[in-house]
Protein backbone atom coordinates (compact mmCIF):
# COMPACT_ATOMS: atom_id res chain seq x y z
CA UNK A 1 0.00 0.00 0.00
CA UNK A 2 2.84 2.33 0.87
CA UNK A 3 4.45 1.69 -2.51
CA UNK A 4 1.20 2.43 -4.29
CA UNK A 5 0.80 5.76 -2.48
CA UNK A 6 4.41 6.56 -3.33
CA UNK A 7 3.84 5.84 -7.01
CA UNK A 8 0.69 7.94 -7.07
CA UNK A 9 2.67 10.95 -5.92
CA UNK A 10 5.04 10.73 -8.88
CA UNK A 11 3.74 13.10 -11.55
CA UNK A 12 3.23 11.37 -14.86
CA UNK A 13 2.58 13.13 -18.09
CA UNK A 14 -0.70 12.08 -19.62
CA UNK A 15 -2.42 13.07 -22.79
CA UNK A 16 -6.00 13.52 -21.63
CA UNK A 17 -8.46 11.51 -23.68
CA UNK A 18 -5.68 9.90 -25.70
CA UNK A 19 -7.34 6.50 -25.36
CA UNK A 20 -10.52 7.47 -27.10
CA UNK A 21 -8.90 9.46 -29.87
CA UNK A 22 -7.22 6.33 -31.22
CA UNK A 23 -10.37 4.23 -31.13
CA UNK A 24 -11.61 3.56 -34.67
CA UNK A 25 -14.99 4.71 -35.84
CA UNK A 26 -18.13 3.82 -33.94
CA UNK A 27 -19.03 1.32 -36.64
CA UNK A 28 -16.13 -0.96 -35.62
CA UNK A 29 -16.42 -0.19 -31.94
CA UNK A 30 -20.02 -1.37 -32.10
CA UNK A 31 -18.79 -4.82 -33.11
CA UNK A 32 -16.66 -4.96 -29.98
CA UNK A 33 -19.56 -4.17 -27.64
CA UNK A 34 -21.11 -7.63 -28.12
CA UNK A 35 -24.68 -6.44 -27.88
CA UNK A 36 -24.14 -3.68 -25.32
CA UNK A 37 -23.80 -0.80 -27.80
CA UNK A 38 -26.48 1.30 -26.10
CA UNK A 39 -24.71 1.05 -22.74
CA UNK A 40 -21.36 1.82 -24.37
CA UNK A 41 -22.91 4.92 -25.97
CA UNK A 42 -24.06 6.04 -22.50
CA UNK A 43 -20.60 5.52 -21.03
CA UNK A 44 -18.83 7.32 -23.89
CA UNK A 45 -21.31 10.21 -23.58
CA UNK A 46 -20.80 10.49 -19.83
CA UNK A 47 -17.03 10.45 -20.40
CA UNK A 48 -17.36 13.06 -23.17
CA UNK A 49 -19.32 15.42 -20.90
CA UNK A 50 -16.60 15.29 -18.27
CA UNK A 51 -13.82 15.58 -20.84
CA UNK A 52 -15.18 18.41 -22.96
CA UNK A 53 -16.48 20.21 -19.88
CA UNK A 54 -12.95 20.44 -18.49
CA UNK A 55 -11.63 23.77 -19.75
CA UNK A 56 -8.12 23.03 -18.42
CA UNK A 57 -7.48 20.44 -21.12
CA UNK A 58 -5.73 22.10 -24.06
CA UNK A 59 -7.11 21.48 -27.54
CA UNK A 60 -9.84 19.31 -26.03
CA UNK A 61 -12.21 20.13 -28.87
CA UNK A 62 -9.91 18.66 -31.55
CA UNK A 63 -11.44 15.21 -31.16
CA UNK A 64 -14.96 16.51 -30.72
CA UNK A 65 -16.49 15.28 -33.97
CA UNK A 66 -14.75 11.91 -33.65
CA UNK A 67 -16.17 11.29 -30.17
CA UNK A 68 -19.69 12.36 -31.01
CA UNK A 69 -19.72 10.35 -34.21
CA UNK A 70 -18.72 7.30 -32.13
CA UNK A 71 -21.74 7.88 -29.88
CA UNK A 72 -23.92 8.38 -32.94
CA UNK A 73 -22.84 5.03 -34.43
CA UNK A 74 -23.21 3.14 -31.15
CA UNK A 75 -26.72 4.42 -30.49
CA UNK A 76 -28.10 6.52 -33.35
CA UNK A 77 -31.40 7.15 -31.51
CA UNK A 78 -29.73 8.69 -28.48
CA UNK A 79 -30.90 12.31 -28.79
CA UNK A 80 -29.06 14.01 -25.94
CA UNK A 81 -25.51 13.74 -27.40
CA UNK A 82 -26.53 15.55 -30.56
CA UNK A 83 -28.17 18.37 -28.63
CA UNK A 84 -25.42 18.67 -26.05
CA UNK A 85 -22.76 18.36 -28.77
CA UNK A 86 -24.33 21.22 -30.69
CA UNK A 87 -24.50 23.32 -27.52
CA UNK A 88 -20.83 22.69 -26.73
CA UNK A 89 -19.88 23.54 -30.34
CA UNK A 90 -21.80 26.77 -30.14
CA UNK A 91 -20.97 28.09 -26.69
CA UNK A 92 -17.59 26.51 -26.03
CA UNK A 93 -15.99 26.14 -29.43
CA UNK A 94 -17.86 29.16 -30.86
CA UNK A 95 -18.14 27.08 -34.01
CA UNK A 96 -21.59 27.35 -35.55
CA UNK A 97 -20.85 25.17 -38.64
CA UNK A 98 -19.72 22.41 -36.24
CA UNK A 99 -22.94 22.73 -34.24
CA UNK A 100 -24.93 22.45 -37.45
CA UNK A 101 -22.86 19.47 -38.53
CA UNK A 102 -23.67 17.64 -35.28
CA UNK A 103 -27.37 18.37 -35.71
CA UNK A 104 -27.20 17.25 -39.36
CA UNK A 105 -25.70 13.98 -38.11
CA UNK A 106 -28.63 13.61 -35.74
CA UNK A 107 -31.12 14.24 -38.51
CA UNK A 108 -29.37 11.82 -40.89
CA UNK A 109 -29.62 9.05 -38.29
CA UNK A 110 -33.14 10.03 -37.17
CA UNK A 111 -35.07 11.43 -40.13
CA UNK A 112 -38.28 11.26 -38.09
CA UNK A 113 -37.06 13.67 -35.39
CA UNK A 114 -38.02 17.30 -36.05
CA UNK A 115 -36.03 18.60 -33.09
CA UNK A 116 -32.72 18.51 -34.98
CA UNK A 117 -33.64 20.69 -37.98
CA UNK A 118 -35.66 22.96 -35.68
CA UNK A 119 -32.64 23.59 -33.46
CA UNK A 120 -30.36 23.92 -36.50
CA UNK A 121 -32.71 26.52 -37.96
CA UNK A 122 -32.64 28.36 -34.67
CA UNK A 123 -28.83 28.39 -34.60
CA UNK A 124 -28.60 29.42 -38.26
CA UNK A 125 -31.02 32.30 -37.71
CA UNK A 126 -29.98 33.61 -34.32
CA UNK A 127 -26.22 32.99 -34.31
CA UNK A 128 -25.19 32.77 -37.93
CA UNK A 129 -27.79 35.24 -39.25
CA UNK A 130 -28.03 32.99 -42.31
CA UNK A 131 -31.73 33.30 -43.07
CA UNK A 132 -31.81 31.23 -46.31
CA UNK A 133 -30.14 28.38 -44.39
CA UNK A 134 -32.51 28.81 -41.45
CA UNK A 135 -35.40 28.74 -43.88
CA UNK A 136 -34.21 25.38 -45.30
CA UNK A 137 -33.89 23.87 -41.86
CA UNK A 138 -37.31 25.06 -40.72
CA UNK A 139 -38.80 23.64 -43.92
CA UNK A 140 -37.26 20.24 -43.14
CA UNK A 141 -38.60 20.45 -39.59
CA UNK A 142 -42.15 21.33 -40.55
CA UNK A 143 -42.33 18.53 -43.10
CA UNK A 144 -41.63 15.88 -40.45
CA UNK A 145 -44.86 14.36 -39.05
CA UNK A 146 -45.49 15.45 -35.48
CA UNK A 147 -43.52 18.70 -35.78
CA UNK A 148 -44.98 21.53 -33.71
CA UNK A 149 -46.91 24.30 -35.47
CA UNK A 150 -44.27 26.83 -34.55
CA UNK A 151 -41.96 25.25 -37.16
CA UNK A 152 -44.21 26.61 -39.92
CA UNK A 153 -44.30 30.06 -38.34
CA UNK A 154 -40.52 30.06 -37.98
CA UNK A 155 -40.25 29.02 -41.62
CA UNK A 156 -42.47 31.90 -42.67
CA UNK A 157 -40.45 34.32 -40.56
CA UNK A 158 -37.11 33.06 -41.93
CA UNK A 159 -38.49 33.28 -45.48
CA UNK A 160 -39.37 36.90 -44.89
CA UNK A 161 -35.95 37.65 -43.43
CA UNK A 162 -34.37 35.90 -46.44
CA UNK A 163 -36.51 38.21 -48.57
CA UNK A 164 -38.51 35.36 -50.09
CA UNK A 165 -41.64 37.46 -49.88
CA UNK A 166 -43.88 35.14 -51.89
CA UNK A 167 -43.13 32.12 -49.67
CA UNK A 168 -43.43 34.18 -46.48
CA UNK A 169 -46.77 35.63 -47.57
CA UNK A 170 -48.24 32.28 -48.64
CA UNK A 171 -47.07 30.54 -45.48
CA UNK A 172 -48.45 33.21 -43.13
CA UNK A 173 -51.71 33.11 -45.05
CA UNK A 174 -51.82 29.35 -44.55
CA UNK A 175 -51.12 29.81 -40.85
CA UNK A 176 -53.93 32.37 -40.63
CA UNK A 177 -56.42 30.12 -42.44
CA UNK A 178 -55.59 27.00 -40.43
CA UNK A 179 -55.03 28.57 -37.00
CA UNK A 180 -57.18 27.01 -34.28
CA UNK A 181 -56.53 29.79 -31.75
CA UNK A 182 -57.31 33.50 -32.00
CA UNK A 183 -53.84 34.26 -30.69
CA UNK A 184 -52.21 32.50 -33.64
CA UNK A 185 -54.54 34.17 -36.11
CA UNK A 186 -53.50 37.51 -34.61
CA UNK A 187 -49.80 36.62 -34.96
CA UNK A 188 -50.32 35.60 -38.60
CA UNK A 189 -52.33 38.74 -39.30
CA UNK A 190 -49.63 40.96 -37.77
CA UNK A 191 -46.97 39.28 -39.86
CA UNK A 192 -49.01 39.62 -43.04
CA UNK A 193 -49.47 43.30 -42.19
CA UNK A 194 -45.73 43.65 -41.64
CA UNK A 195 -44.82 41.91 -44.92
CA UNK A 196 -47.21 44.06 -46.95
CA UNK A 197 -46.06 47.19 -45.20
CA UNK A 198 -42.37 46.38 -45.77
CA UNK A 199 -42.88 45.68 -49.48
CA UNK A 200 -45.15 48.71 -49.97
CA UNK A 201 -42.85 51.09 -48.12
CA UNK A 202 -39.85 49.85 -50.11
CA UNK A 203 -41.70 50.50 -53.33
CA UNK A 204 -42.84 53.92 -52.13
CA UNK A 205 -39.34 54.92 -50.98
CA UNK A 206 -37.86 53.88 -54.30
CA UNK A 207 -40.44 55.98 -56.16
CA UNK A 208 -39.86 58.91 -53.78
CA UNK A 209 -36.10 58.81 -54.43
CA UNK A 210 -36.77 58.75 -58.18
CA UNK A 211 -39.04 61.79 -57.72
CA UNK A 212 -36.32 63.61 -55.78
CA UNK A 213 -33.73 62.73 -58.39
CA UNK A 214 -36.02 64.01 -61.15
CA UNK A 215 -37.52 67.10 -59.52
CA UNK A 216 -34.96 67.91 -56.82
CA UNK A 217 -37.42 67.44 -53.97
CA UNK A 218 -39.83 64.96 -52.41
CA UNK A 219 -43.44 65.28 -53.53
CA UNK A 220 -45.94 67.14 -51.27
CA UNK A 221 -48.31 64.19 -51.35
CA UNK A 222 -47.92 60.51 -52.18
CA UNK A 223 -50.50 60.88 -54.94
CA UNK A 224 -47.97 63.13 -56.77
CA UNK A 225 -45.89 60.03 -57.45
CA UNK A 226 -48.76 58.54 -59.43
CA UNK A 227 -49.25 61.82 -61.35
CA UNK A 228 -45.51 61.76 -62.12
CA UNK A 229 -45.98 58.26 -63.56
CA UNK A 230 -43.55 56.70 -61.05
CA UNK A 231 -46.12 54.29 -59.59
CA UNK A 232 -49.40 53.00 -61.02
CA UNK A 233 -51.19 53.50 -57.69
CA UNK A 234 -50.54 54.26 -54.03
CA UNK A 235 -50.83 51.09 -51.97
CA UNK A 236 -52.65 50.95 -48.67
CA UNK A 237 -51.73 48.84 -45.65
CA UNK A 238 -53.22 45.44 -44.82
CA UNK A 239 -56.09 47.18 -42.97
CA UNK A 240 -56.80 49.38 -46.00
CA UNK A 241 -55.45 52.46 -44.29
CA UNK A 242 -53.11 55.02 -45.79
CA UNK A 243 -49.44 55.07 -44.94
CA UNK A 244 -48.15 58.16 -43.15
CA UNK A 245 -45.88 60.29 -45.31
CA UNK A 246 -43.54 63.12 -44.23
CA UNK A 247 -42.80 65.30 -47.29
CA UNK A 248 -39.88 67.02 -45.53
CA UNK A 249 -37.85 63.85 -44.96
CA UNK A 250 -39.48 61.56 -47.50
CA UNK A 251 -40.14 59.04 -44.75
CA UNK A 252 -43.06 56.63 -45.08
CA UNK A 253 -44.33 54.60 -42.16
CA UNK A 254 -47.32 52.59 -41.08
CA UNK A 255 -50.18 54.17 -39.21
CA UNK A 256 -49.80 51.58 -36.45
CA UNK A 257 -46.95 49.41 -35.13
CA UNK A 258 -47.61 45.95 -36.66
CA UNK A 259 -47.26 44.11 -33.33
CA UNK A 260 -49.63 46.44 -31.56
CA UNK A 261 -52.56 46.25 -33.96
Amino acid sequence: MGLKLRIDRIPRQKIPGSGIIYIPSGKYLKMATFGFSSLMADLVFIWAIQYFGNVDIPNRLDSFVHVFSIISELDPRYVDPYEVGALISLYDAKNIPLALRILDMGLAKNPDMWIFPLEAGHYAQIYKRDFPLAKEYYKKAMEIPGAPDIAKRLYANASFKAWDIKTAWETWLEVYDTAKEERLRKIASNNLYNIKATVDIRGLRSALEKHRAKYGRYPDRLSDIVRAGLLPYIPQDYDNKDYIYDPKTGEVKTAVIPWKR
Partner: protein, 254 residues
Protein backbone atom coordinates in the same frame (compact mmCIF):
# COMPACT_ATOMS: atom_id res chain seq x y z
CA UNK B 1 -41.89 -37.65 -14.72
CA UNK B 2 -38.17 -38.43 -14.56
CA UNK B 3 -37.29 -35.21 -16.33
CA UNK B 4 -39.43 -33.26 -13.85
CA UNK B 5 -37.80 -34.97 -10.87
CA UNK B 6 -34.29 -34.27 -12.14
CA UNK B 7 -35.25 -30.72 -13.06
CA UNK B 8 -36.59 -29.96 -9.58
CA UNK B 9 -33.55 -31.55 -8.00
CA UNK B 10 -31.24 -29.54 -10.24
CA UNK B 11 -33.14 -26.40 -9.34
CA UNK B 12 -32.76 -27.08 -5.61
CA UNK B 13 -29.05 -27.73 -6.12
CA UNK B 14 -28.42 -24.71 -8.35
CA UNK B 15 -30.30 -22.31 -6.10
CA UNK B 16 -27.83 -23.14 -3.33
CA UNK B 17 -24.80 -22.42 -5.54
CA UNK B 18 -22.71 -19.57 -4.15
CA UNK B 19 -21.80 -18.32 -7.61
CA UNK B 20 -25.46 -17.57 -8.18
CA UNK B 21 -25.71 -15.28 -5.16
CA UNK B 22 -22.41 -13.60 -5.93
CA UNK B 23 -23.47 -12.79 -9.46
CA UNK B 24 -26.94 -11.76 -8.28
CA UNK B 25 -25.36 -9.42 -5.75
CA UNK B 26 -23.15 -7.80 -8.39
CA UNK B 27 -26.08 -7.44 -10.77
CA UNK B 28 -28.14 -5.71 -8.08
CA UNK B 29 -25.15 -3.54 -7.16
CA UNK B 30 -24.64 -2.51 -10.78
CA UNK B 31 -28.27 -1.49 -11.04
CA UNK B 32 -28.07 0.59 -7.88
CA UNK B 33 -24.80 2.22 -8.98
CA UNK B 34 -26.54 3.24 -12.22
CA UNK B 35 -28.50 5.79 -10.16
CA UNK B 36 -25.20 7.50 -9.30
CA UNK B 37 -23.92 7.15 -12.86
CA UNK B 38 -27.07 8.82 -14.13
CA UNK B 39 -26.14 11.96 -12.19
CA UNK B 40 -23.10 12.43 -14.42
CA UNK B 41 -25.06 12.67 -17.63
CA UNK B 42 -26.87 15.58 -19.24
CA UNK B 43 -30.38 14.98 -20.47
CA UNK B 44 -32.30 11.74 -20.08
CA UNK B 45 -31.06 10.13 -16.84
CA UNK B 46 -33.66 7.40 -16.95
CA UNK B 47 -31.99 6.05 -20.09
CA UNK B 48 -28.75 5.39 -18.20
CA UNK B 49 -30.63 3.50 -15.46
CA UNK B 50 -32.53 1.43 -18.02
CA UNK B 51 -29.44 0.66 -20.11
CA UNK B 52 -27.33 -0.38 -17.12
CA UNK B 53 -30.20 -2.42 -15.69
CA UNK B 54 -30.81 -4.35 -18.89
CA UNK B 55 -27.09 -4.84 -19.47
CA UNK B 56 -26.71 -6.19 -15.90
CA UNK B 57 -29.57 -8.64 -16.37
CA UNK B 58 -28.09 -9.80 -19.67
CA UNK B 59 -24.43 -9.97 -18.64
CA UNK B 60 -24.86 -11.57 -15.22
CA UNK B 61 -27.57 -13.88 -16.51
CA UNK B 62 -25.16 -15.08 -19.19
CA UNK B 63 -22.42 -15.66 -16.63
CA UNK B 64 -24.83 -17.63 -14.43
CA UNK B 65 -25.95 -19.77 -17.35
CA UNK B 66 -22.37 -20.52 -18.37
CA UNK B 67 -20.76 -20.99 -14.95
CA UNK B 68 -23.52 -23.14 -13.50
CA UNK B 69 -24.47 -24.89 -16.73
CA UNK B 70 -20.97 -26.08 -17.52
CA UNK B 71 -20.66 -27.73 -14.13
CA UNK B 72 -24.01 -29.48 -14.07
CA UNK B 73 -23.13 -32.68 -15.91
CA UNK B 74 -19.45 -32.65 -15.05
CA UNK B 75 -20.15 -32.63 -11.29
CA UNK B 76 -22.22 -35.79 -11.58
CA UNK B 77 -19.41 -37.48 -13.52
CA UNK B 78 -16.71 -36.29 -11.13
CA UNK B 79 -18.62 -37.38 -8.02
CA UNK B 80 -19.44 -40.67 -9.75
CA UNK B 81 -23.11 -40.19 -8.95
CA UNK B 82 -23.71 -40.53 -12.70
CA UNK B 83 -23.31 -44.30 -12.38
CA UNK B 84 -26.08 -44.44 -9.81
CA UNK B 85 -28.30 -42.36 -12.05
CA UNK B 86 -27.76 -44.20 -15.33
CA UNK B 87 -28.25 -47.53 -13.61
CA UNK B 88 -31.80 -46.49 -12.83
CA UNK B 89 -34.59 -47.03 -15.39
CA UNK B 90 -33.88 -43.64 -16.91
CA UNK B 91 -32.72 -42.76 -20.35
CA UNK B 92 -29.66 -40.56 -20.77
CA UNK B 93 -31.62 -37.87 -22.60
CA UNK B 94 -34.02 -37.63 -19.67
CA UNK B 95 -31.10 -36.91 -17.39
CA UNK B 96 -29.75 -34.24 -19.74
CA UNK B 97 -33.11 -32.60 -20.29
CA UNK B 98 -33.80 -32.66 -16.57
CA UNK B 99 -30.55 -30.80 -15.94
CA UNK B 100 -31.42 -28.34 -18.71
CA UNK B 101 -34.90 -27.57 -17.41
CA UNK B 102 -33.64 -27.36 -13.84
CA UNK B 103 -31.17 -24.65 -14.77
CA UNK B 104 -33.71 -22.86 -16.93
CA UNK B 105 -36.06 -22.77 -13.94
CA UNK B 106 -33.24 -21.40 -11.78
CA UNK B 107 -32.46 -18.69 -14.32
CA UNK B 108 -36.13 -17.82 -14.56
CA UNK B 109 -36.36 -17.27 -10.80
CA UNK B 110 -33.15 -15.22 -10.70
CA UNK B 111 -34.20 -13.14 -13.71
CA UNK B 112 -37.57 -12.53 -12.10
CA UNK B 113 -35.89 -11.22 -8.95
CA UNK B 114 -33.50 -9.05 -10.96
CA UNK B 115 -36.41 -7.68 -12.99
CA UNK B 116 -38.27 -6.74 -9.83
CA UNK B 117 -35.24 -4.84 -8.52
CA UNK B 118 -34.75 -3.24 -11.92
CA UNK B 119 -38.37 -2.13 -12.30
CA UNK B 120 -38.37 -0.86 -8.73
CA UNK B 121 -35.31 1.30 -9.48
CA UNK B 122 -36.86 2.66 -12.66
CA UNK B 123 -40.10 3.34 -10.78
CA UNK B 124 -38.23 5.12 -7.98
CA UNK B 125 -36.68 7.43 -10.55
CA UNK B 126 -39.49 7.95 -13.03
CA UNK B 127 -42.59 7.23 -10.86
CA UNK B 128 -43.84 4.99 -13.66
CA UNK B 129 -43.50 1.32 -14.46
CA UNK B 130 -42.25 0.77 -17.98
CA UNK B 131 -43.65 -2.68 -18.74
CA UNK B 132 -41.92 -2.73 -22.10
CA UNK B 133 -38.64 -3.30 -20.27
CA UNK B 134 -39.94 -6.76 -19.46
CA UNK B 135 -40.08 -7.49 -23.20
CA UNK B 136 -36.32 -6.96 -23.41
CA UNK B 137 -35.84 -9.12 -20.29
CA UNK B 138 -38.02 -11.84 -21.82
CA UNK B 139 -35.79 -12.06 -24.86
CA UNK B 140 -32.69 -12.00 -22.66
CA UNK B 141 -34.25 -15.07 -21.04
CA UNK B 142 -34.72 -16.72 -24.47
CA UNK B 143 -31.04 -16.02 -25.16
CA UNK B 144 -30.07 -17.49 -21.78
CA UNK B 145 -32.07 -20.66 -22.55
CA UNK B 146 -30.00 -21.10 -25.69
CA UNK B 147 -26.73 -20.39 -23.86
CA UNK B 148 -27.75 -22.91 -21.17
CA UNK B 149 -28.27 -25.56 -23.86
CA UNK B 150 -24.84 -24.76 -25.28
CA UNK B 151 -23.24 -24.93 -21.83
CA UNK B 152 -24.81 -28.34 -21.25
CA UNK B 153 -23.68 -29.52 -24.71
CA UNK B 154 -20.07 -28.66 -23.94
CA UNK B 155 -20.25 -29.95 -20.40
CA UNK B 156 -21.45 -33.33 -21.69
CA UNK B 157 -18.00 -34.04 -23.13
CA UNK B 158 -15.54 -31.53 -21.68
CA UNK B 159 -14.20 -30.14 -18.42
CA UNK B 160 -15.87 -27.12 -16.77
CA UNK B 161 -13.05 -24.74 -17.66
CA UNK B 162 -13.02 -25.64 -21.35
CA UNK B 163 -16.80 -25.79 -21.46
CA UNK B 164 -17.01 -22.30 -19.96
CA UNK B 165 -14.53 -21.04 -22.52
CA UNK B 166 -16.41 -22.66 -25.42
CA UNK B 167 -19.76 -21.39 -24.16
CA UNK B 168 -18.31 -17.90 -23.74
CA UNK B 169 -16.88 -18.00 -27.26
CA UNK B 170 -20.27 -19.14 -28.53
CA UNK B 171 -21.86 -16.13 -26.85
CA UNK B 172 -19.29 -13.70 -28.23
CA UNK B 173 -19.56 -15.15 -31.74
CA UNK B 174 -23.31 -14.96 -31.43
CA UNK B 175 -23.11 -11.22 -30.82
CA UNK B 176 -20.49 -10.74 -33.49
CA UNK B 177 -22.04 -12.73 -36.35
CA UNK B 178 -24.18 -9.81 -37.54
CA UNK B 179 -20.99 -8.15 -38.71
CA UNK B 180 -20.38 -11.14 -40.99
CA UNK B 181 -23.26 -9.87 -43.05
CA UNK B 182 -21.37 -6.62 -43.61
CA UNK B 183 -18.24 -8.57 -44.51
CA UNK B 184 -20.11 -10.82 -46.99
CA UNK B 185 -21.23 -7.74 -48.94
CA UNK B 186 -17.62 -6.67 -49.36
CA UNK B 187 -16.26 -10.07 -50.45
CA UNK B 188 -16.22 -10.61 -54.22
CA UNK B 189 -18.26 -13.54 -55.56
CA UNK B 190 -16.49 -16.86 -55.18
CA UNK B 191 -15.77 -19.76 -52.85
CA UNK B 192 -14.86 -17.44 -49.98
CA UNK B 193 -18.18 -15.62 -50.22
CA UNK B 194 -20.08 -18.93 -50.23
CA UNK B 195 -18.09 -20.10 -47.22
CA UNK B 196 -18.81 -16.86 -45.38
CA UNK B 197 -22.51 -17.16 -46.20
CA UNK B 198 -22.61 -20.75 -44.91
CA UNK B 199 -20.81 -19.69 -41.75
CA UNK B 200 -23.23 -16.78 -41.27
CA UNK B 201 -26.22 -19.10 -41.66
CA UNK B 202 -24.91 -21.76 -39.28
CA UNK B 203 -23.40 -19.56 -36.61
CA UNK B 204 -25.85 -18.35 -33.97
CA UNK B 205 -27.05 -14.77 -34.19
CA UNK B 206 -27.77 -13.76 -30.63
CA UNK B 207 -28.52 -10.19 -31.75
CA UNK B 208 -31.92 -11.56 -32.74
CA UNK B 209 -32.76 -11.55 -29.03
CA UNK B 210 -31.34 -8.10 -28.36
CA UNK B 211 -34.20 -5.62 -28.04
CA UNK B 212 -32.63 -3.50 -25.35
CA UNK B 213 -32.08 -0.42 -27.54
CA UNK B 214 -35.58 -0.52 -29.04
CA UNK B 215 -37.25 -0.88 -25.67
CA UNK B 216 -35.24 1.91 -24.03
CA UNK B 217 -35.99 4.31 -26.90
CA UNK B 218 -39.65 3.29 -27.01
CA UNK B 219 -39.42 2.17 -30.63
CA UNK B 220 -42.11 -0.03 -32.15
CA UNK B 221 -41.13 -3.68 -32.64
CA UNK B 222 -43.27 -5.61 -35.14
CA UNK B 223 -44.96 -8.62 -33.55
CA UNK B 224 -43.74 -10.73 -36.47
CA UNK B 225 -40.11 -9.93 -35.58
CA UNK B 226 -40.69 -11.00 -31.99
CA UNK B 227 -42.35 -14.23 -33.03
CA UNK B 228 -39.58 -15.12 -35.48
CA UNK B 229 -36.91 -14.34 -32.87
CA UNK B 230 -38.62 -16.52 -30.28
CA UNK B 231 -39.06 -19.34 -32.81
CA UNK B 232 -35.38 -19.03 -33.82
CA UNK B 233 -34.32 -19.26 -30.20
CA UNK B 234 -36.48 -22.27 -29.44
CA UNK B 235 -35.52 -24.16 -32.60
CA UNK B 236 -31.81 -23.49 -32.16
CA UNK B 237 -32.08 -24.62 -28.52
CA UNK B 238 -33.79 -27.85 -29.60
CA UNK B 239 -31.03 -28.42 -32.17
CA UNK B 240 -28.28 -27.88 -29.57
CA UNK B 241 -30.02 -30.17 -27.08
CA UNK B 242 -30.33 -32.87 -29.73
CA UNK B 243 -26.59 -32.58 -30.34
CA UNK B 244 -25.97 -32.78 -26.59
CA UNK B 245 -28.15 -35.90 -26.32
CA UNK B 246 -26.27 -37.53 -29.22
CA UNK B 247 -22.89 -36.78 -27.63
CA UNK B 248 -23.98 -37.80 -24.16
CA UNK B 249 -25.52 -41.04 -25.39
CA UNK B 250 -22.14 -42.20 -26.66
CA UNK B 251 -20.22 -40.87 -23.67
CA UNK B 252 -18.20 -43.41 -21.74
CA UNK B 253 -17.82 -42.41 -18.10
CA UNK B 254 -14.94 -44.70 -17.24
Amino acid sequence: MTIKTIALNTFKEAIRDRILYLLFFFAALAMIVSRILALLTVGDRAKIIKDVGLASVSLFGTLMAILIGTGLVYKEIEKRTIFTLISKPMRRYEFLLGKFFGLVLTLFVILLLMSIIFLALVFAYTSAIDWRLLLAVLFVFVELILITAVAILFSSFSTPILSSLFALCFTLIGHFSWSLETLIKKIPAGALKVLAQVAYTILPDLENFNYKTEVVHGLAIPAQTLLYSAAYGILYTVFILMLAVLVFRRRDFI
